[in-house]
């Protein structure tokens, strides 16, 4: 299921191409608009959302080979402000979507939500945080957590 969803997301963003499949969100090259790093909070979309324009995740994600993490990064690109909102509240459909994309099992969902809410300030240190940086921070957080690290293992 996880693989299919990851695939669906990649398929959905059909206007993009990978420079090097499987080697990092940062390595994705987007057709059309590129170079605009979506900032996390507010006014990220005015004028940039139109006919299939996607932002570009310019995280420092190295050579992340985990397809689930890539899918999460793509989802974050389009929905970063809603993800941030749900994270601050510790619940919501966007945070659940991240859990689905990462394949977090039902039993670990509570921990997943709590870790993200408790570490909101770590994931989003400022209003200038880009979605790529937020993805990196989430991956780093999950890696440190005993029950969640398995979901982001490369």
């Amino acid at each position: 299921m996880k693989k299919l969803i990851a695939g669906a997301i990649l398929l959905g963003a059909s206007s993009m191409a990978f420079a090097q499949p499987g080697c990092g969100v940062g390595a994705m090259i987007w057709k059309g608009q590129s170079g605009i790093a979506p900032h996390v909070l507010a006014a990220t979309t005015n004028g940039t959302f139109g006919n299939q324009t996607f932002g570009m995740t310019t995280g420092t994600l190295g050579c992340q080979t985990n397809a689930a993490v890539q899918s999460m990064a793509m989802y974050m690109d389009s929905n970063i402000d809603k993800v941030a909102r749900d994270m601050s509240r510790g619940s919501g459909e966007n945070i659940d979507t991240l859990a689905v994309l990462l394949g977090v099992e039902e039993a670990d969902r509570g921990t997943f939500r709590k870790v993200l809410q408790d570490n909101f300030a770590t994931v989003f240190p400022s209003s200038e945080t880009t979605s790529g940086e937020a993805v990196d921070a989430i991956v780093a957080l999950l890696e440190k957590n005993e029950s969640l690290s398995k979901y982001v293992a490369a």
Binding site: M1, K2, L4, I5, G7, A8, I9, L11, G12, S14, H39, V40, L41, A42, A43, T45, N46, F49, G50, N51, Y75, S78, N79, D81, K82, A84, R85, D86, M87, S88, R89, G90, S91, G92, E93, N94, D96, T97, V100, L101, G103, E106, K114, Q117, D118, F120, A121, F124, S126, S127, E128
Partner: protein, 621 residues
């Protein structure tokens, strides 16, 4: 492609026609006239002559050179192509899985299984169990979206607890409008053709982003009761038309139309397209789908605007004021005023304020350097409050958009104009008048198209065209401490105008802008500055222009609607007379099928008073 391949199909063709004769359902013995085949090729009978033409405007959609106009040769070509040896993605069976399935069943062909890697992967990725028709409600601030929009969502199997519908794919048919075409160009090309229509597949969250967050349109999700076989057939046909151009027309061959075709293919015999006459208004198409018992469940997804308005309104007054103060930067997110609240109150104020700031930065373009730090501060504060659920979502409206009154209206009235009696007949093909039954429509909104008012004066047996409305739009959205929308109106057409001596039919253009304020839950006051332009050679200088004002009260409830006010216009070019008018209009709604209405206006123009009243019945169907 040698001769043998040509002869083969011809023989099969003969055999098939013979088989088909035995089948009473197969279009009078000719399989190419079978409704299912005509549907798969998007063939429609020609208005003139007895031929057929396909609505597909892309040569690549056809296998036969004459495919566009000949369902017979297309059937023959498809039949021979799918029986050709070989395989791979370019084989006709891989390009036309729906046609193949139908032909195979219809003619009992024994085809060896074939592997279609691209189609197989596509289908596997879409992983569709059920299909949901999503209706994006009308959004009255953009003419191009006023009729609403529909698209299909492909839902994965729900038994999997990991399934999340935000990630489901959607199929949408839309005009491929160049990004920078203006609204006017869009409207023109939309009506008269000029845009290719394309089918796109996008994740649902992209659609939510566009409709719910950016355009503030509520979404209604109607899950169709198609079984797996029907779903598979729909997908197979979607694959066939996926990259094919069908010219897009605003009124009939639009987003909703093409989706109806997909549903018709999925469940042959549904014949949704037969319902389409001159236009396919998305809310009407949803009605047809509901009427044909195709819906298993309905879900409401309020837009960001609806949600934020609801969460603000559910705060007590003092906290609303606090939220407005925080949003406007008078009070900081970690101020004592907030700290004094209970954890749950504080969470709700922070949640509503954040949603409001986010809404304002999208809708009103609040500058990022103000909105972003404020948003961040609000979220950071909120993240310290645990175990308080997010704000409640707005309740589902009691009446859905497809349950409002029907959009075609016929009215018959009797009345008097300055002691002359008349009978008036009005035809209004679409869509909603501010005084029509409000359920299922935006309150304070009006959109009328191609309305025709004809009057028969009984004193001298004279039949007169009173008014022909091209388009008339009104949007009266109330302002409050959080939202300050502009109320506006625009219209054009031809109308009777007073030249001082006679009433002549003059083309007009009118517009206006102003504000509305809520006085009570269903009552608002509006004040609009107006501008009018009339062109007619009976006017002294050939045209006249007026600036004016319109101040009134509007009350709308499910039993009756009422509007009363006063207008003034100063005509400045030809007549140079001021025109004053007091008006009152009311409708009493009898269910959603009929309204009794009455209108009274008293006017002072050219230094004389004139009264007009009329009363009658509106029927909606």
């Amino acid at each position: 492609m040698g001769y043998s391949l040509r002869i083969g199909p011809a023989l099969i063709w003969l055999a098939l026609t013979a088989t088909a004769h035995a089948d009473p359902d197969a279009g009078a013995g000719q399989p190419y006239l079978d409704p299912a085949w005509l549907m798969l090729g998007h063939y429609h009978p020609d208005t003139l002559g007895d031929g057929y033409t396909s609505q597909a405007d892309d040569p690549a959609f056809f296998l036969s050179k004459n495919g566009k106009h000949s369902p017979a040769s297309e059937l023959e070509a498809t039949l021979s192509a799918i029986q050709r040896p070989g395989g791979g993605d370019n084989h006709a069976r891989c390009r036309y899985p729906a046609r193949t399935a139908w032909l195979q069943q219809e003619f009992d062909l024994s085809l060896a299984p074939m592997d279609c890697p691209a189609y197989g992967e596509w289908k596997e990725t879409l992983n569709t169990k059920t299909v949901t028709l999503v209706f994006a409600a009308s959004y009255l601030n953009s003419p191009s979206s006023m009729f609403g929009h529909t698209f299909l969502r492909l839902d994965p199997p729900q038994e999997d607890e990991e399934t999340n519908l935000l990630l489901a794919s959607t199929i949408s048919y839309a005009a491929d409008a160049a990004a920078h075409d203006s609204e006017i160009l869009f409207a023109y090309k939309g009506i008269f053709g000029g845009y290719p229509g394309i089918t796109t597949i996008q994740p649902y969250y992209e659609k939510i982003r566009l409709y719910s967050d950016i355009e503030h349109r509520d979404l209604w999700e109607y899950t169709l009761n198609l079984n797996q076989e029907e779903v598979d057939l729909m997908l197979a046909h979607a694959w066939e038309i996926r990259d094919r151009n069908f010219d897009y027309y605003f009124f009939d061959e639009n987003c909703a139309y093409r989706l109806l075709a997909l549903i018709d293919v999925a469940r042959p015999g549904t014949n949704l397209l037969d319902e389409v006459g001159t236009h396919a208004i998305p809310s009407d198409t949803v009605r047809w789908v509901v009427d044909k018992d195709l819906i298993s469940s309905v879900h409401y997804r309020p837009s960001a605007a609806t949600s934020v308005a609801y969460s603000l309104s559910s705060l007590p007054d003092s906290q609303q004021t606090l939220a407005a103060a925080v949003a406007n930067g008078y009070v900081s997110a970690d101020a004592d005023e907030l700290k004094r609240l209970t954890a749950s109150e504080r969470a709700h104020v922070l949640d509503a304020t954040y949603d409001y700031v986010r809404y304002q930065s999208e809708a009103e373009g609040w500058p990022r350097d103000i909105a972003a730090p404020l948003s961040h501060e609000l979220l950071q504060e909120r993240s310290t409050i645990e175990n308080v659920p997010p704000p409640e979502t707005p309740p589902e409206p009691a009446i859905r958009d497809d349950q409002g009154h029907d959009t075609f209206r016929l009215s018959l009235a009797g009345g008097q104009l300055d002691h002359r009696e008349f009978t008036q007949l009005t035809l209004r093909p679409a869509y909603h008048d501010i005084l029509d039954p409000p359920e299922g429509y935006r309150s304070g909104a009006q959109l009328q198209f191609l309305r025709l008012d004809a009057r028969y004066y009984t004193d001298n047996d004279e039949l007169q065209l009173e008014q022909l409305t091209g388009v008339e739009i009104r949007s009266l959205s109330p302002r409050n401490q959080f939202f300050s929308p502009l109320s506006w109106q625009v219209g054009f057409g031809g109308r009777r105008t007073d030249t001082g001596t006679e009433r002549v039919l003059a083309p007009y253009l009118e517009g206006g802008a102003g504000g509305s304020w809520q006085l009570a839950p269903k009552t608002q006051l509006f004040a609009i500055a107006t501008a009018d332009l009339e062109i007619d050679d009976d006017l002294r200088r050939g045209y006249d222009a007026a600036s004016g004002a319109d101040i009134g009260l509007l009350h709308q409830n499910n039993q009756f609607s009422l509007m009363a006010g006063a207008k003034t216009k100063a005509w400045i070019v030809s007549s140079q007379h001021r025109q004053y008018q007091a008006y009152a209009k009311a409708s009493w709604h009898i269910g959603r099928e009929f309204s009794l209405f009455a209108e009274f206006t008293r006017e002072d123009h050219y230094d004389r008073y004139e009264s007009k009243w009329q009363t009658g019945l509106h029927a909606y169907f």
